[in-house]
C-alpha cells in the first residue's frame, strides 16, 4: 500500500491518508533522533538509520508538493539546517573550551574534581566582560586623562607618581586611572550618544551581582535535580559497589591508591554497620572535642583581633605619612591576612587530631573552620575599613570648608562678594583634592588580592616545588627515607584549593563596585594560576592517599559559593545605601546617596506616568504583602515536597509487597504448568506430533535473550502441595523466565 501511495499523484491522497503518512514520517524522525540513546550495536543502528532516512526522504517529497505543503517543506528544510548548526556549534564549543587537554591529563591522574573551575571561570569572565564594556564606553566617550581634576594626579604627588613602589601600592598614576571608582565623571550624559554614565555604572554593578546569584542558584538547582531527590542515603553500599570506580583513571599508581581506598571504605562501612553504637571512653572523646572547639574559637578570636590591631596601626602610619615607614609596615595588613590564611588551617589540622572523627566528617569540620576563619578575617577587615571611611569623610568636610577659602584666595580679594567673576583657568593638577573614600576602598581590595595572589604563588613555589626538589635530591644523603616519611612530596589538596578559589571570588564581589577593573585583573590572575598549578600538580604533587569527597554531592561547594556571594555583597550594598558619595570623585559625586541616580533617571528620562507607577510600586503597603505572599509560597512548596517524599516511601514499600506476592503467584502457576506439561507430554502428545500448549509455552520462554538452564525444561521433581515462599537465590529458574510467563499466558 505504501508503494502505491508513492507512485500516485499527491492530489489523489485523501486527507486521512496524508495525515497518517505525516504521522509515520514524524515517528521515523523521532526514531532517528533517539537512535544514539539506544543500547544497540552500531551495525543495527546504522541499518535502522539508513532505512529511516530512506523512508523519510521518499515520503517527505510526496508530502512537500502542492501549494499548502510548501510551508511544510520549508519548515522541514529549516529544521535540518538548524540541527546541522547545532551539531557544528557543539563541535565548535568543545574545540573552544580552554585547557581541555590539560584538564583531561590531570583528571586521569587525579580524581575528577576540576569541573569546579568551570563555573568559577564562567562566573568571572562574564563580569569581567561587562565591566570591560563599561570601560570601553568610558574610554570612547569620556574625557581623557588630565582634563579634569578627578582624573589628574595632584601637583604634590606628581614627583613620585611613576615610582614602581608607589604604583605597586596602587597610588600615583594607578590611583587616578580607570582602575578605580574615582576616575569616573559624574556628568549625566556623555558624548554624542548621550550615554548615561552614572546610571550605567550603577546598573552594571547591580546587574553583575544579580547575574552571579542566578548562575550559582541555577547550577545548584541542576545539581539537585541530578541527585534525583528523595532517599539519598539508603543506597550506601550499592553506590560504593557500582559507582566508586573512576573510569578516567589511567595511571597505575592512582589505580592502586584507588583500590586501597575502596577496600578501606568497604571494610570501614562493614565495620560501622556491625559494631554497636556504644563507644568506650565516650566521655573522654566528648571532652576532647569540646576542648578542640574551644581552641579553635580562641584561634579565630585571636586572628580577628590581630587584623583589627594591624589595620588601626596602618591608619596611624597613613596619618604620619607613608614614606617614613619600611615596606613591611606599609603592607602590614595584607601580609598579616595572607599569612594568617596560610598558617591557621595547618593549626586547625593539628587540633583536629584531638577529635578522632571519621575522615569525611573531619574534612567537613576543617572546611567549616577555614570558612569561619576567612569570613572572620574579611569582616574584621571591613569593619576597620569602615572606620577609615568615616575618617576620610571627616577630612572631606574639612576640605570643603577649605575649598571656599582657597577659591577666594585665587581671586585675591579683587572682587566684591556678589559679582560674578571671569573664570580663571587653573591647571587641574593644582586644585585641592578631596580624599576619595571610594577609591581608597577599591585600592585596599586590589592590594589585598594582589598580596593574596603573591602569597599563593610563593607558597606553591616553596611549599610544593622547593620541597619536591629537596626531597628528591637530599634523599640520597639523608638518614631516613625522605620520600616515604616526613616530609615527602606534598599532596594535591583539592578541597583547600577549591576553598581558596571561592574566597578569591568573594573578595572580587566585594571590591568590584569600587574598582571596576578588578574582575578583569582577576581573570588574568586565574589564567596564570591555572598554568602554574597545572605544572606544579603534574611535576611536584602526589595524589591524595585517601580519596573521598567532602559531601555526597557537588552542591556543598556551590552552597558555600552562594553564602560567600551573599556575605560579600552585603558590605557593598550597605555602603551604597548608607554612605553619601564623595563630592568630587566618581560617577555619583555631588548626590546625597548613590541610588539617587535611579530617581534622577526616572524623573528626567521617562514619561511622568512611569515615575508615578514606580512610586506606587515601591510603596511599603504594596511591598510588604508581596513579601508575605512569597513566604507563604515557600511554605506551601516545602510542605508539598515533604508529602511527595512521604508518598514515595509508601509506594516503595507497596512495590516490595506487591512484587513478593507476584513472585509467589508466579511460582505457583509455573509449578502447575510444569506438572500439567508433564502429564500432557506423557499422555496426550507423542514426541513427533505437534507440540501441545505446554511445550509452546516452553518454546516461547526459549525466545528470551538469556540462556535458560537446562533443568528448567524438564519437569521438576514432585514437591509437596505447599509451595515455599519467595525463592531463595536462583535454583531452577532464573528471574527472566519468571517474568516471561505472564506474557505467554495471554495467548
Amino acid at each position: 500500500e505504501e508503494e502505491k501511495v508513492g507512485e500516485e499523484k499527491p492530489e489523489v491522497l485523501s486527507p486521512e491518508e496524508l495525515e497518517k503518512l505525516k504521522e509515520e514520517v514524524d515517528e521515523r524522525k523521532k526514531l532517528i533522533s533517539t537512535l544514539r540513546g539506544k543500547p544497540w550495536p552500531m551495525r543495527k543502528k546504522l541499518l535502522t538509520l539508513r532505512e529511516s532516512h530512506e523512508f523519510v526522504e521518499k515520503y517527505e517529497g510526496a508530502l512537500g508538493k502542492g501549494k499548502s505543503r510548501k510551508l511544510y517543506a520549508y519548515k522541514v528544510m529549516m529544521l535540518k539546517k538548524w540541527m546541522k548548526f547545532q551539531r557544528d556549534f557543539e563541535n565548535f564549543k568543545t574545540a573552544c573550551v580552554p585547557w581541555e587537554m590539560k584538564i583531561k591529563e590531570i583528571e586521569s591522574k587525579y580524581v575528577s574534581y576540576l569541573f569546579l573551575l568551570y563555573p568559577c571561570t564562567v562566573l568571572l569572565v562574564l563580569p569581567g566582560c561587562l565591566l570591560f564594556f563599561n570601560l570601553a564606553e568610558k574610554a570612547l566617550m569620556g574625557r581623557p586623562y588630565g582634563s579634569m581634576p578627578r582624573k589628574t594626579v595632584p601637583r604634590a604627588d606628581e614627583a613620585n607618581a611613576m615610582d614602581f613602589a608607589v604604583l605597586w601600592d596602587f597610588g600615583g598614576y594607578a590611583q587616578y586611572s580607570v582602575l578605580f571608582y574615582g576616575y569616573y565623571n559624574s556628568q549625566r550624559a556623555i558624548g554624542w550618544l548621550k550615554f548615561r554614565m552614572p546610571l550605567s555604572y550603577f546598573l552594571v554593578g547591580v546587574g553583575t551581582v544579580a547575574y552571579s546569584y542566578m548562575v550559582v542558584i541555577r547550577t545548584m538547582a541542576r545539581n539537585a535535580n541530578e541527585d534525583g531527590g528523595g532517599d539519598n542515603n539508603s543506597f550506601n553500599f550499592s553506590w560504593k559497589m557500582f559507582t566508586s570506580w573512576d573510569y578516567l583513571i589511567g595511571n597505575p599508581e592512582t589505580a592502586d591508591n584507588k583500590f586501597a581506598s575502596i577496600t578501606t571504605s568497604f571494610k570501614e562501612a562493614i565495620l560501622e554497620e556491625q559494631e554497636s553504637r556504644k563507644d568506650d571512653n565516650i566521655h573522654l572523646t566528648r571532652f576532647l572535642r569540646v576542648l578542640a572547639n574551644f581552641l579553635v574559637l580562641c584561634c579565630l578570636a585571636g586572628s580577628g583581633y590581630l587584623i583589627y590591631f594591624v589595620v588601626r596601626r596602618s591608619q596611624k602610619f597613613a596619618l604620619e605619612g607613608l614614606e617614613s615607614h619600611s615596606w613591611w609596615e606599609r603592607n602590614e595588613v595584607n601580609m598579616v591576612m595572607s599569612l594568617l590564611g596560610m598558617f591557621c588551617p595547618m593549626l586547625f589540622d593539628v587540633i583536629s587530631a584531638l577529635e578522632n572523627y571519621h575522615p569525611r566528617i573531619a574534612l567537613q569540620w576543617q572546611l567549616g573552620r577555614i570558612f569561619a576563619l576567612f569570613l572572620g578575617n574579611l569582616y574584621t577587615f571591613i569593619i576597620a575599613l569602615m572606620d577609615e571611611i568615616n575618617l576620610k569623610r571627616e577630612e572631606e568636610e574639612v576640605l570643603k570648608l577649605n575649598m571656599t577659602i582657597w577659591e577666594a584666595s585665587l581671586y585675591n580679594g579683587t572682587l566684591g562678594a556678589n559679582s560674578t567673576a571671569p573664570p580663571i583657568t587653573v591647571h587641574p593638577a593644582d586644585i585641592p583634592r578631596g580624599p576619595c573614600w571610594e577609591t581608597m576602598v577599591g585600592q585596599e581590595f586590589v592590594r589585598l588580592i594582589v598580596s593574596d595572589t603573591m602569597t599563593t604563588y610563593i607558597t606553591l613555589l616553596i611549599g610544593d616545588f622547593l620541597r619536591a626538589v629537596l626531597v628528591r635530591f637530599l634523599n640520597y644523603c639523608w638518614c631516613w627515607d625522605l620520600e616515604a616519611g616526613f616530609p615527602s612530596y606534598s599532596e594535591f589538596d583539592v578541597s583547600g584549593n577549591v576553598l581558596g578559589l571561592i574566597f578569591n571570588q568573594g573578595m572580587i564581589w566585594m571590591g568590584a563596585f569600587y574598582a571596576p577593573c578588578l574582575p578583569a585583573l582577576n581573570v588574568l590572575r586565574l589564567h596564570v594560576s591555572m598554568y602554574l598549578q597545572c605544572w606544579a600538580v603534574m611535576c611536584c604533587n602526589v595524589p591524595q592517599e585517601r580519596v573521598f569527597k567532602a559531601s555526597g554531592s557537588n552542591n556543598f561547594y556551590m552552597a558555600m559559593l552562594l553564602v560567600i556571594l551573599f556575605l560579600s555583597t552585603l558590605p557593598a550594598i550597605y555602603t551604597i545605601v548608607t554612605i553619601p558619595p564623595s563630592f568630587d570623585c566618581g560617577p555619583f559625586s555631588g548626590k546625597s546617596r548613590m541610588f539617587d541616580v535611579i530617581q534622577e533617571t526616572l524623573e528626567s528620562d521617562f514619561p511622568a506616568w512611569f515615575g508615578k507607577v514606580f512610586s506606587y510600586a515601591s510603596n511599603p503597603g504594596l511591598v510588604l504583602p508581596f513579601l508575605l505572599l512569597m513566604v507563604l509560597a515557600i511554605y506551601y512548596l516545602q510542605s508539598t515536597s515533604k508529602s511527595y517524599k512521604q508518598a514515595n516511601l509508601e509506594l516503595k514499600k507497596k512495590l516490595q509487597t506487591v512484587s513478593r506476592t507476584i513472585n509467589k503467584v508466579l511460582t505457583l502457576i509455573q509449578y502447575l504448568l510444569y506438572s500439567l506439561c508433564g502429564t500432557c507430554t506423557d499422555i496426550v502428545c507423542p514426541p513427533e506430533s505437534t507440540p501441545c500448549k505446554g511445550g509452546e509455552h516452553r518454546a516461547h520462554q526459549g525466545k528470551s535473550d538469556h540462556q535458560i538452564p537446562p533443568s528448567a525444561t524438564s519437569p521438576p521433581a514432585p514437591r509437596g502441595h505447599r509451595i515455599p515462599g519467595p525463592l531463595p537465590g536462583n535454583q531452577w529458574q532464573p528471574a527472566p523466565s519468571v517474568q516471561r510467563v505472564p506474557n505467554s499466558q495471554r495467548h
Partner: protein, 189 residues
Amino acid sequence: MGTTASQLRKDLLSEYQELTFLTKQEIILAHKRFSELLSKEDRNIPTPRVPMEKVLSLPELKSNPFRKRICHVFSTSDMKDGSLTFEDFLDLLSAFSDSATLEIKSHYAFRIFDFDDDGTLDGGDLEKLVNCLTGETDDTRLTTEEMRQLISNILEESDIDKDGTVNLSEFQHVISRSPDFVSSFKIVL
C-alpha cells in the same frame, strides 16, 4: 562499507555523529587511535578487528579492573573473544562519553557488571565485582565473612522484589539516585 586505512568517509562520519554522543573531532581521534592498534596486514581488509589484547593495551583501559568485561560487552564478534571493530570501539566511546545519557550508561554498566551474562546480578556476579574493585592481590581482598556481609547489605538495599538478584530496572533505580555515577563512568581518549 568499512573504513579505509587512512581516512574516514564523510558520509560515514556524519552518520556516526548522528548515532553516537561523540563530536566530530572525537570520532576522528578515535579512528586515528584505532588505526594505530591495527597490524599492517589488517589495515587493508574492509572491517578490521582488533584482538582484545591490543585493545587492553590502550592507556585509558590499562588500569581499569573491568577492562576485559568492557571488551566483551561491546564486542560483536561471533567467537565471543572480545575483539572490537571500529564501530564497536565507537559504541564503547559513545557510552562512556561525557554527553551520554544516564539510561545508556546504566544499561551498559549493568551488562559490564553481569559477569555471567545471565541478565541479572546475582551473588556470584557481585562477589566477582567486589574482587575486581579491591585489586587482585591477596592482601587487599575481603575475607569471606566480610564478603558475605557486604553482599547481603547490597541485596537488602537494591533488591526491591526480593528475588535474590538485582535486575536491570532495580539497578537503574539505584544508579539514577547516585550523584557520582555519571561523572565517574567516563572514558575519554
